[in-house]
């Protein structure tokens, strides 16, 4: 099991991440990845950018716990998770989750699970810049509800 987790201000390169998931990998038949991008519209308002704050120290620990839980639930071989912090503009990349596994069911489920738990458990906060000023993004009840599907 190979796990890579990073919290960084720098952008990431999906091609590099995908190459790392495939490198010398002859056993996996399925790679699923999720990439999260800054949307121009959020909750009805036009957004020009955002600042992402986090809780250094806790962030990596929380992400690792989420990945470990996914690896305990499904047979995975590699997971790569990168979350950016700092200042981002519209259409910038925010987060990458890449999972490789022998079969697609495990890869799809684990990638989706990691994103759903990251949205609820990892200490990141977005502050959006809109025409009427800055505002902290409010957590959505739909993100909390998204966890229901993973109840055992």
């Amino acid at each position: 099991m190979m796990i890579f987790i990073a919290v960084q201000a720098e952008d990431f390169d999906v091609a590099t991440e995908y190459a790392e998931l495939r490198k010398d990998n002859r056993s996996d038949g399925a790679v699923v990845f999720f990439s999260g991008l800054v949307r121009e519209m959020n909750q009805g308002d036009s957004v020009s950018g955002m600042a992402l704050e986090h809780y250094p120290g806790m962030t990596e620990k929380a992400l690792r716990q989420i990945v470990d839980e996914a690896a305990a639930r499904w047979p995975l071989n590699r997971v790569r998770l990168i979350h950016r912090v700092g200042t981002l503009r519209v259409s910038d990349q925010i987060v990458f989750v890449g999972v490789s596994a022998a079969h697609r069911e495990a890869a799809f489920a684990a990638c989706h699970f990691i994103m759903d738990f990251l949205k609820n458990r990892a200490p990141f906060w977005k502050k959006e810049v809109t025409a009427s000023g800055e505002r902290w993004v409010e957590a959505l009840s739909k993100d909390k509800k998204a966890l229901d599907k993973w109840q055992k």
């Binding site: 809780y55 925010i94 949205k119 990892a122 200490p123 990141f124 502050k127 902290w136 409010e138 957590a139």
Partner: protein, 81 residues
């Protein structure tokens, strides 16, 4: 003991940490109440709904005991991803 704050809670309380005078061991519910007394105008921001708690960088869902040296933090529901 030192309590850390993040994001909107940090801004609304006007500080990124607060030194709380309290006997140890204690628990997270007691600390939360003490903070609400210390910041009466922002007590509504410190409810269990509006402020999550972490002890030693782990989210706490129930009441948890706090001992000397533990790192305690409060922050709004998270919005990453």
């Amino acid at each position: 003991m030192k309590i850390l704050f993040f994001a909107a809670l940090r801004e609304r309380l006007g500080c990124d940490s607060y030194e709380l005078e309290t006997a140890l061991p204690t628990d997270i519910n007691t600390v939360r109440s003490a903070l609400q007394q210390a910041f009466p105008a922002q007590a509504g921001e410190l409810t269990t709904e509006r402020a999550l708690a972490a002890v030693n960088q782990t989210l706490i869902h129930d009441n948890a005991s706090i001992n000397d040296g533990d790192e305690v933090a409060f922050f709004p529901p998270v919005t990453g991803g």
